[in-house]
C-alpha cells in the first residue's frame, strides 16, 4: 500500500484530480467569478503555449519566436469552425478536418517518395510538401465539402444538442491544433536548417506575417467572418473548466511521455550537442522538426481553448509585443523544466492580469509593463537559469539512473578498497 502511494503516477493524478474538483466546486459555488475563471483559463492556455516553446527551445535548443503565430492559427481556425457551425455552416469543420487528413496523407506520400532520392535540397523538399498540403486542402474545399458537408451536419445535429456541441468543439480544437502542426511542419522544413539566431529571426518574421494576414482576413484572404483587424466577434463561448483541465493534462502527459521515450532522449541530445548527436546516428533534422511540430500543436490547442473562452479574437492579441510572453515565461521558469514553466505560466497571468490589474490604483495599470522588465533584468543578473533551473517534480522527472559517485583517489588506486565496480 505504501509502495502504491509512493508511486508518482498515483500522487500526480490524485493531486490533479483534487485541483480539478476544488476549482470546479469554487466555480459552482460562485466564489470564483467569471473574471477569475477567465484568468485561470488564460493561465492554462498561456502555459500550454509556453510548454510547447519549452519543448522547442528548452529541450531541443531551437530558439523560436514563432510560438504566437501557431497560437493565432489554432485560435482562428477553431473559432472559424465553431462560428460557422453555430450559423448552420459545416464547411469550415469539413475543410479543416478532412483537408488536414488529406494533406497529411499526401505529405506522407511525398516524404516516402523523397526517401528514394539522395541529395535533395531543402527548398525542393519544402516545395513538394507545400504543394501536397495545398492539394489536400484544395480537394477538401472543392470536392469533400460539397459531397459530405450537409449530410455530416444532419448526422451530427441528429444527436442531442449538448453532445453534438461537445463533439464539434472537440473537432474544432483538434482541427486548430492539426492546422498549426501542418503549418509548423511546412515552416520547419526550411527554417530549421538555419541554426540558432537566424531561426529565431525567421520565426519572428513568421509571427508578424501571420499577424498581418489576420489583419487582412476580410480584404485579402477570403474569410469575411473573421473581420480582419476589426476583431472577430460572435464566437460561441464553449470553453469550460473540464475542457481546459483535460486539454492541459493531455498536453502535460504527452510532453512528459515524449520526453521520457527514446525520441525524447534524441530531442535532448540535439540540444546538448548537435554534432555529437549526428555522429551517434540520430537524424537531428527530423528530431528538430518533431519537437517544433509538437510544440506548435500545443500552441494551436491552447489557441482553440483561449478563443472559445474570450469569445472575441483580435489580431493585436497575437502581435509582436505579446509574442515574447512565452519566451519570458520559460526563461523565468527555467529552460528545460516543465515544472517551472507550469508554475510561472499560471503565476504570470495571475499576477499581471489578475492581481496587478485589479489592485493597482487607477492609472497605474501601465506601470505593470514598467515593473516587469525590471524584474526580468534583475532575474537575468541574479538567477539566469530561471527560478526552477532544471528541477522537475517527481512525476515529470526523467527516469535516469542516479549519478555515479566519483571514486576517491584511494578507491581508484586500490579498487578492492571500495565497493565501486563500474
Amino acid at each position: 500500500m505504501r509502495q502504491f502511494l509512493r508511486n508518482t503516477n498515483v500522487t500526480f493524478l490524485a493531486g490533479a484530480g483534487l485541483v480539478f474538483i476544488i476549482v470546479q466546486a469554487l466555480i459552482n459555488l460562485g466564489i470564483l467569478n467569471p473574471y477569475w475563471q477567465g484568468v485561470i483559463f488564460w493561465g492554462a492556455a498561456i502555459t500550454m503555449v509556453s510548454l510547447g516553446l519549452n519543448l522547442i527551445y528548452g529541450f531541443n535548443g531551437q530558439f523560436s519566436l514563432g510560438q504566437y503565430g501557431f497560437y493565432a492559427i489554432g485560435a482562428y481556425a477553431s473559432a472559424d469552425i465553431t462560428y460557422r457551425w453555430v450559423r448552420n455552416d459545416p464547411s469550415a469543420l469539413v475543410v479543416v478536418i478532412f483537408g488536414s487528413i488529406l494533406a497529411l496523407i499526401f505529405m506522407l506520400g511525398v516524404n516516402a517518395f523523397l526517401r528514394r532520392f539522395y541529395g535533395v535540397f531543402t527548398p525542393t523538399k519544402f516545395l513538394l510538401n507545400f504543394l501536397a498540403a495545398v492539394l489536400g486542402f484544395f480537394l477538401a474545399v472543392r470536392f469533400v465539402n460539397p459531397a459530405i458537408g450537409q449530410s455530416l451536419y444532419q448526422a451530427l445535429n441528429g444527436l442531442p444538442s449538448g453532445i453534438s456541441q461537445q463533439i464539434v468543439f472537440f473537432l474544432a480544437l483538434v482541427g486548430g491544433a492539426t492546422l498549426a502542426g501542418i503549418v509548423s511542419y511546412l515552416l520547419g522544413i526550411p527554417v530549421l536548417e538555419l541554426g540558432s539566431d537566424y531561426f529565431g529571426i525567421a520565426t519572428l518574421g513568421f509571427t508578424i506575417i501571420v499577424k498581418v494576414l489576420l489583419d487582412n482576413t476580410d480584404t485579402i484572404l477570403p474569410f469575411p467572418e473573421m473581420k480582419g483587424a476589426r476583431g472577430m466577434v460572435g464566437i460561441p463561448k464553449w470553453t469550460t473548466w473540464p475542457w481546459v483541465f483535460f486539454s492541459f493534462i493531455a498536453v502535460v502527459l504527452v510532453m512528459r511521455n515524449l520526453l521520457h521515450s527514446s525520441t525524447g532522449r534524441a530531442i535532448l541530445s540535439v540540444r546538448e550537442d548537435e554534432r555529437a548527436a549526428e555522429l551517434m546516428g540520430i537524424d537531428t533534422t527530423s528530431q528538430k522538426i518533431m519537437a517544433f511540430v509538437v510544440g506548435s500543436v500545443f500552441a494551436g490547442l491552447a489557441g482553440g481553448i483561449r478563443a472559445h473562452d474570450l469569445a472575441f479574437l483580435h489580431p493585436t492579441t497575437f502581435g509582436f509585443l505579446p509574442s515574447f510572453n512565452p519566451l519570458i515565461i520559460i526563461v523565468f521558469g527555467g529552460l528545460g523544466s516543465m515544472t517551472g514553466t507550469i508554475i510561472t505560466g499560471f503565476f504570470w497571468i495571475f499576477l499581471l492580469e489578475g492581481v496587478l490589474r485589479l489592485y493597482l490604483p487607477e492609472g497605474f495599470e501601465t506601470w505593470r509593463f514598467v515593473i516587469y522588465p525590471i524584474v526580468l533584468l534583475l532575474m537575468m543578473l541574479l538567477r539566469p537559469q530561471g527560478l526552477m533551473g532544471r528541477y522537475e517534480i517527481a512525476f515529470l522527472r526523467r527516469p535516469l539512473p542516479p549519478p555515479k559517485k566519483e571514486p576517491s583517489l584511494a578507491q581508484k588506486l586500490i579498487p578492492e578498497a571500495g565497493e565501486v565496480k563500474a
Binding site: 519570458i328 526580468l376 533584468l377
Partner: protein, 434 residues
C-alpha cells in the same frame, strides 16, 4: 528478425536511391519562374504609369535611408557582441522624443536667431537643425552606453540567450517607461519640425545643382577608378587612397542626390504625365544626412584607433584583449556610435512623417534589423544596401499590392533571403560551426 537481415535491407534500400538532382532542378525552375513573374508584374506596373512608379521609388529611398541609419547600429552591435539588440529600435524612438522636447520646450532649433537676431535665416535654420540632431545623437549615444554598461556588460560571460532576453527587457522598459504620462506620454504626438518642409518640383530645380552633383559623383568615381587601376598594379599608396572617405562621400552623395533630382527634373520633360514628380526638401535632407553619417562612420571604423580596435575585437575578442585592446571600452564605443546613428534616424523619421509615439520604434527597428540581415549582418555597406532594398520593397508593395500588406512582404523577403543566401548579400559564408 535478426539484426543482420535488417541491416541488409537497409543497405539495399540505400543502394536503390536515385540522385535527387532532377527534383532540385525542377523546383529551381519553379522558383525562378515565380521570381520572374514578380519582376514582370513590377515592370508592367512601371511601364503602365512611370511617373507614379518613379515617385514610389523616391518614397522608398526616403524610407530606406532612415532604415539605413538604424540598420548600421544593429549590424555594428551584432558584429562585435553577437547580440540582437532589440532595444535599438527604442533608442531610435528616444531620439525622436528628445528632439521633440528640444524643439517644443527649449526652442533649440531657433537658438541662432535668438543669439544673433540679424543672422541669415537659412543659415540659422541649418545651424539650428544640426544642433537638434546633435543633441539627439549625443543623448542616444549616452543611452546606448548606459544600456551596455548596466544591462549587457554584466551578462557578457553568460549564455547568449540571457543577453537576448535582457535586450527584450530593456526594449519593453524603454517603451513602457516612455509611455508613462510624465515621461513621454502614450499618445500620438504631432511633431513640430525644426525646419519648414516645402515641395520641390521640376521647375524649382536649377540644372546647375544637377551639374554640381553629377560632377561630384563623376570626379570621385574617376579618381576612384584611376586609384583602383594603380592599386591593382601594386601601388600601396593608391590602395590606401582608394578608400578615402572623401571619395566615398563624393560618389554616394553626388550619386544618390543626383539620381533623385535628375528623375524629378527629367520625367516631365520625357513622359507626358498629368502630374509632376516631387520631392520634399525633407527627403533630400534625409538622404544627405544619412550619406554624411555613413561616410563618417566608415571613416571612424577604418582609420581611427577605436575603429581598428572595433574590427579587431569583432574578429577575435580574447586575442585583441591580449594585444592590449580594452575590449569593454571598445564595446561601449560601439554602442555609443550605434545609439548616435539611431538618434539621428529618429529625428529624421519624425521630421519626414510628422508623428511620434512611444511604440514607434518597434516596427522600424525590426525592419532595419531585417535590412541588416539581408545585407549581411556585420557588414556596414551591407546594412546600407539592405536598408535601401527594404525601403523600396516596402513602398512598392504598398503601392502595387496594398498598404496593409507591406509588413508581410517585408518579412517574407527576410525568409526568402535566409533560404537563398543565409549569410546575406555582403556577408561571408559562415564557417563550419563546431
Amino acid at each position: 528478425m535478426s539484426v543482420a537481415i535488417e541491416a541488409r535491407r537497409m543497405e539495399q534500400r540505400m543502394l536503390r536511391r536515385r540522385n535527387g538532382m532532377v527534383l532540385n532542378r525542377i523546383s529551381q525552375v519553379l522558383f525562378i519562374l515565380a521570381g520572374i513573374l514578380v519582376l514582370y508584374s513590377v515592370g508592367r506596373a512601371a511601364a503602365a504609369n512611370p511617373t507614379v512608379f518613379f515617385q514610389q521609388i523616391l518614397n522608398g529611398f526616403q524610407l530606406g535611408f532612415i532604415y539605413a541609419l538604424i540598420a548600421l547600429g544593429y549590424t555594428m552591435v551584432y558584429g562585435i557582441v553577437k547580440l540582437i539588440n532589440f532595444a535599438h529600435g527604442d533608442v531610435f524612438m528616444v531620439g525622436a522624443f528628445v528632439s521633440f522636447f528640444t524643439i517644443s520646450l527649449l526652442n533649440l532649433h531657433q537658438w541662432p536667431l535668438t543669439v544673433w537676431p540679424g543672422m541669415n535665416p537659412t543659415a540659422a535654420t541649418v545651424l539650428g537643425t544640426v544642433t537638434v540632431i546633435l543633441v539627439s545623437m549625443i543623448t542616444c549615444a549616452s543611452l546606448g552606453v548606459t544600456m551596455e554598461r548596466f544591462a549587457y556588460r554584466p551578462l557578457r560571460a553568460m549564455p547568449r540567450i540571457a543577453a537576448l532576453i535582457t535586450a527584450i527587457g530593456v526594449s519593453f522598459f524603454l517603451e513602457y517607461f516612455g509611455g508613462l504620462p510624465f515621461v513621454f506620454t502614450n499618445n500620438y504626438i504631432t511633431y513640430p519640425r525644426p525646419f519648414n518642409v516645402f515641395v520641390l518640383n521640376a521647375d524649382m530645380i536649377p540644372p546647375l545643382w544637377l551639374g554640381i552633383l553629377w560632377g561630384m559623383c563623376a570626379i570621385a568615381a574617376t579618381v576612384y577608378g584611376v586609384l583602383k587601376i594603380w592599386g591593382s598594379r601594386g601601388n600601396a599608396r593608391a590602395q590606401a587612397w582608394q578608400r578615402n572617405p572623401l571619395l566615398q562621400f563624393g560618389m554616394l552623395f553626388g550619386g544618390f542626390l543626383g539620381v533623385a533630382l535628375t528623375i524629378i527634373w527629367l520625367t516631365p520633360r520625357l513622359v507626358r504625365a498629368h502630374f509632376d514628380l516631387t520631392a520634399s526638401n525633407a527627403m533630400l535632407i534625409i538622404m544627405g544626412i544619412s550619406v554624411i553619417l555613413l561616410v563618417i562612420l566608415q571613416y571612424i571604423v577604418r582609420y581611427t584607433r577605436i575603429g581598428k580596435a572595433m574590427r579587431a575585437s569583432a574578429y577575435d575578442k580574447p586575442t585583441s584583449r591580449l594585444m592590449g585592446i580594452n575590449v569593454d571600452m571598445v564595446i561601449a564605443a560601439t554602442f555609443a556610435l550605434a545609439g548616435g546613428l539611431a538618434g539621428a534616424g529618429g529625428v529624421l523619421f519624425a521630421t519626414a512623417y510628422n508623428r511620434i509615439h512611444h511604440l514607434m520604434g518597434i516596427i522600424p527597428g525590426l525592419k532595419a534589423f531585417i535590412s541588416a540581415v539581408i545585407g549581411g549582418i556585420g557588414s556596414i555597406p551591407g546594412a546600407f544596401v539592405g536598408a535601401l532594398i527594404m525601403g523600396l520593397v516596402e513602398v512598392l508593395s504598398a503601392g502595387l499590392i496594398s498598404s496593409p500588406m507591406r509588413d508581410a512582404v517585408a518579412f517574407s523577403l527576410l525568409i526568402i533571403v535566409l533560404l537563398i543566401r543565409p549569410q546575406g548579400i555582403f556577408g561571408e559564408a559562415p564557417g563550419e560551426k563546431v
